[in-house]
């Protein structure tokens, strides 16, 4: 060494991506995959994040809706400026209904009702761009899942220095496992060992309340 301080002995001198945001994902993957351009990494990261939310339905919003007389269309999409609806998980309040993905519902009752209608819906949401700040929980609890998803997509690409089908399969399995875990977590309303549990459909005498399987 040329007289400088040993970086291993200097607190904080070692690089560590301790942020809980997109940078952590980009830094971790970028440091592992040789020959990878930042642009491709960013593109694949976005594909993974969108896919993660679509498959896991990790962000769910329970909304109450109201339809004025003579109105027949409810539009829940976009949910706000950063989040879009990707699917309905539950809907109640209309007898004859047509769902138009991703977030539109049409009352197909004829003749068009003259009354006000109300009800509830459970929506699965996904971010609409890479700059949307995702919750801390996603960047920590499901960081490994997202990283595996990005690596899976990268290793699967043909004709690249980092092409590796075996590694792709491994990371693909880990990614899907992470998604299943996230979906189960969302279904349990983020309670582990908690009380947010309902008797399954078969155990309640067949009186469906429309929320089975959510």
């Amino acid at each position: 060494m040329s007289g400088g301080a040993d970086p291993c002995a200097t607190p904080g001198a070692l690089f560590q991506s301790s942020s809980a945001d997109l940078d952590r994902l980009l830094d971790n993957v970028g440091a592992m995959v040789p020959g990878l351009t930042t642009d491709v990494l960013t593109m694949v990261a976005w594909n993974t994040i969108e896919d993660f939310y679509q498959r896991s339905t990790y962000r769910r919003e329970h909304v109450y809706w109201q339809l004025d007389p003579q109105q027949i269309v409810l539009n829940f999409d976009p949910y706000d400026s950063n989040w879009r609806v990707c699917r309905f998980l539950y809907f109640s309040g209309l007898q004859n209904v047509k769902f138009i993905p991703p977030g539109r519902v049409q009352d197909v009752t004829y003749p068009t009702p003259d009354t006000e209608r109300t009800g509830e819906a459970l929506l699965a949401l996904k971010p609409n761009n890479l700059n949307v700040a995702l919750p801390y929980d996603v960047w920590t609890t499901y960081f490994e899942a997202l990283m595996n998803g990005v690596l899976h997509r990268l290793y699967m690409q043909p004709g690249k220095p980092y092409s590796d089908m075996q590694a792709a399969q491994l990371h693909g399995r880990l990614y899907r496992s992470g998604i299943s875990s996230a979906r189960a977590d969302a279904q349990a309303q983020h309670l582990r060992e908690g009380s947010s549990w309902q008797y399954p459909y078969f155990a309640v005498g067949g009186h469906a309340d429309g929320r089975q399987g959510l």
Partner: protein
């Protein structure tokens, strides 16, 4: 080091030992070298389309000319500069003349492909 078309041609000329004219004129003209640069850019576009993600995958591949594009930045990330340099030097060495070195040309052309497509390029 500048990652421009002009910078690449200058560096290639150094590796080709073609900076000081032997007989009053360089072995390769700027036009000849930049034509090889254009050829190399096409090769990269073909082998590594991801290099052109920001430039635009649906745009025509750029064609450069000197001196107009002397200071024009190359359309991809810096990691593709070195392979392109090897390509330009290797491809130029394929020119049939007294000073050409076929062995060196083959080595550099192989290096170009390896750096683009393999980890241990």
């Amino acid at each position: 080091m500048s990652r421009t078309v002009g910078g690449l041609v200058t560096e290639a000329r150094q590796l080709l030992n073609d900076t000081v004219p032997i007989s009053g004129a360089p072995r390769f003209t700027d036009g000849a070298l930049v034509a090889v640069v254009n050829e190399g850019v096409l090769q990269i576009r073909s082998k590594r389309p991801d290099a052109f993600l920001v430039y635009g995958l649906r745009l025509p591949t750029p064609v450069y000319a000197l001196p107009d594009d002397e200071d024009t930045n190359l359309p991809f990330a810096d990691m593709f500069y070195s392979p392109l340099l090897f390509y330009v030097v290797g491809r130029s060495e394929l020119t049939e003349d007294t000073f050409s070195d076929d062995g060196r040309a083959v080595t550099l052309m192989s290096k170009f492909t390896q750096q683009l497509l393999r980890i241990n390029g």
